[in-house]
Symmetry: C2
């Protein structure tokens, strides 16, 4: 099943889809040349919003969960991509240590860990799961609702290496976004491959840094396709020194929200779009859908109640929010029956593996769907992102839509690659 796109079939997105399909060879070549110069993140998922009149990534995750939401036919692609990734980075690898998030009781998340273990095992590695949670002191095996079984072991740190009891990995794969900062136990591991690198963690990453790279990528890609980059890029601004709890820095926030809304309004006018512009204020280091607020008018910020302010003040792992990004809001125009749907594209190395829709019945088209909700349903992409059907009517072909999502996802992947290069603390300066 594929969600229904509510916009008319003559909208700008269909023009974009046609343009992307017509330019497939040029696009793929562009990506190939990018990957000659830049190293893709090890793995990545990208949340995309399709407003019908524009299509943009709104969040790029370098420690993607949710691999269990992909369909069974996508598994071979994931295995093949994992082979390619391992081969490039550490061909001599035998043992892989997978480090999950610390909140080890969430079985949905653990099913994702079990899926990653399966993928890398099929790709030919001995994979064991080691927790860096100080509370995990002994091995425990967890039965998952889907029938999978996951064995979680406490990590063992020696002077120069990290491993498990009787398990010395040459490669460590993090599926833990390090929101609270890299624990000391992960530092100074110069003999082992640590993937992704520590500076990909949310204690270092900033959404605004990512979207700065994405803006550059979208401009170059827009030139390649002869399109206004705004069609694939969410405009943004940022503010530092914000303190929601104390109400500090709200002037900066209001000014920027107002300026961005004005810019969006101008764009809507240019394209004849009769929607109400909005922006999304996000913690610049936020993840897990935390620290996110939709704003239609800067005046709303003056009357924020205590609850809203508290929600914005602290994100995952209790990290305080000081920096915020103000992002142009991109409506979701995809519906599964009456529920909002937003696509999430999964990539490993430079390859799109597949994706799914995040479907949330209790949210509006201008709201964050990455939120708890009894009717949050992952809906796997029905077909491969690899099989565009040339000659189909724009907007009518699911494979074509998925291919387009795969292209946008990969643009965000290129941006993440630029971002990681720019923020690498060990980068040589020329």
């Amino acid at each position: 099943m594929v969600p229904h796109l509510i916009t008319a079939l003559t909208g700008p997105i269909n023009e974009l889809e046609q343009r992307i399909l017509d330019s497939t060879p040029a696009i793929e070549r562009w990506f190939r040349l990018e990957w000659m110069e830049h190293t893709p993140p090890f793995y990545c998922s990208v949340d995309i919003r399709n407003a019908g009149f524009k299509l943009a990534p709104v969040d790029t995750n370098l420690f993607p969960g949710g691999w269990n939401n992909l369909t069974q036919p996508m598994l071979p692609l994931a295995v093949q991509s994992a082979m390619a990734a391992i081969e490039k980075i550490c061909p001599e690898a035998k043992n892989l240590l997978l480090i999950p998030e610390n909140h080890s009781r969430n079985t949905f998340y653990l099913a994702n860990v079990a899926q990653l273990q399966r993928i890398f095992h099929m790709a030919g590695l001995n994979v064991r799961v080691g927790s860096v949670d100080p509370e995990i002191k002994e091995t425990k095996t967890i039965q998952l609702p889907n029938g999978d079984e996951l064995t979680l072991e406490p990590v063992v740190r020696s002077k120069r290496r990290l491993g498990l009891k009787n398990f010395d990995p040459c490669t460590i794969l993090l599926n833990n976004d390090l929101s609270a900062g890299a624990p000391g136990i992960l530092e100074d591991l110069h003999e082992q491959y640590l993937l992704p690198p520590l500076h990909a963690g949310w204690s270092v990453r900033r959404k605004s840094r990512h979207f700065q790279s994405y803006e550059e990528v979208s401009k170059r890609f827009g030139k390649l396709l002869g399109i206004d980059p705004w069609l694939i890029h969410p405009m943004f601004a940022k503010c530092g020194e914000v303190d929601f709890a104390e109400g500090a820095g709200m002037d900066c926030l209001q000014t920027n929200v107002d300026a961005l809304l004005t810019k969006v309004r101008r764009k809507y006018k240019e394209y004849g779009i009769n929607e109400k512009p909005f922006v999304v204020v996000k913690a610049d280091n936020g993840t897990y859908g935390m620290g996110i607020m939709t704003v239609h008018d800067a005046a709303e910020l003056t009357s924020l109640n205590r609850k809203s302010r508290n929600k914005m003040a602290v994100v995952k792992d209790g990290q305080p929010v000081h920096d915020v990004i103000i992002q142009e809001g991109v409506l979701t125009a995809e519906r599964m029956h009456d529920a909002m749907a937003e696509p999430v594209v999964y990539m490993m190395d430079r390859y799109v593996v597949g994706g799914f829709y995040r479907v949330h019945a209790d949210r509006g088209p201008d709201e964050n769907l990455n939120a708890p909700g009894s009717r949050f349903v992952p809906l796997a992409f029905a077909e491969s992102t690899h099989l565009p059907q040339h000659g189909m009517k724009p907007g009518a072909s699911a494979p074509n839509r998925f291919y387009m999502y795969g292209v946008i996802g990969r643009l965000a992947l290129v941006a993440a690659s630029y971002e990681l290069e720019a923020t690498d603390p060990e980068a040589e300066v020329y």
Copy 2:
């Protein structure tokens, strides 16, 4: 559907399957390390024979046809592998010229060409099909029974480049095995990538050279797994200066057939196998299932009738046979109902894409199945070769059997890589 393996579930192949499954990480690492040192052929298909007590490649094709026999779910894997291959060899490629076999009226073969065109188009290249057949003088579009359409154009040669009218490719992909020798039109193309290289063609290749490399590979792999390499290797000998039409060189042939049958008999005794040993005499430069003869006793060679001798004397494109390989015959113990089935594994770059069974009701278990026959049916592998199911009973899991076939196919791929290195006329000699 998966053909039924008639041998008992306790046979050596099940031990081999178990050994291969248990060693997945070691095997995949072994391949990764091989590909650090060696370049895989661009694409490849390998005919495999599963006798129940041994499992071996019997033919390795470097210009594989039959891509149209793979299932639809394997297409994304083929596309991803094609992306990887192109990216590694010629990332800046835009236009790909595909050169098919000259016998352009065979619609089964042309459906394969159309499938290759589709795969490389989806991988992001402009692909056009150019014939080197001097009889193709103008563009013609052919409707295929499966609904596909193929446009065949005459190639245009300039001093340094090969292309089509208004189409200048940077890469030329041969799906023509050059049995009659590389046509002059393909020589001295130093500005363009020619894949596979000319010396992969059957005017240069010799099966015995390939199996010499395969023997070396199977010994090293046997050591890795702790198995007798004979379990995965067909023994062989060769004779030059054979002339079937004139009856010359038959002494050499008889002596070698006899000696090889003795070796096979010894092995059968060692393993307690109650089958009648046989060998297969093949033209060393043969392809398309031509120039192949099953022999159970060297005495049969003295009484070859005119028809049999003529069949052996000349192979594809009228090439005379002088060199023959005498290969240990490997029974096919797989049956689809009453028909013989033999697996064919398809690879692109270093990746197994999928495979199918060649099913032939009119042939015996000791005969070549790559032969015309009204009941030749390709049966696509039902599941991915990427998804071994650990913990399943040996012999009971189709994915495990396919994984094992993928491993054996890749061993032949490694051998082909060694072979092409050894026979490269432009190789630097150290």
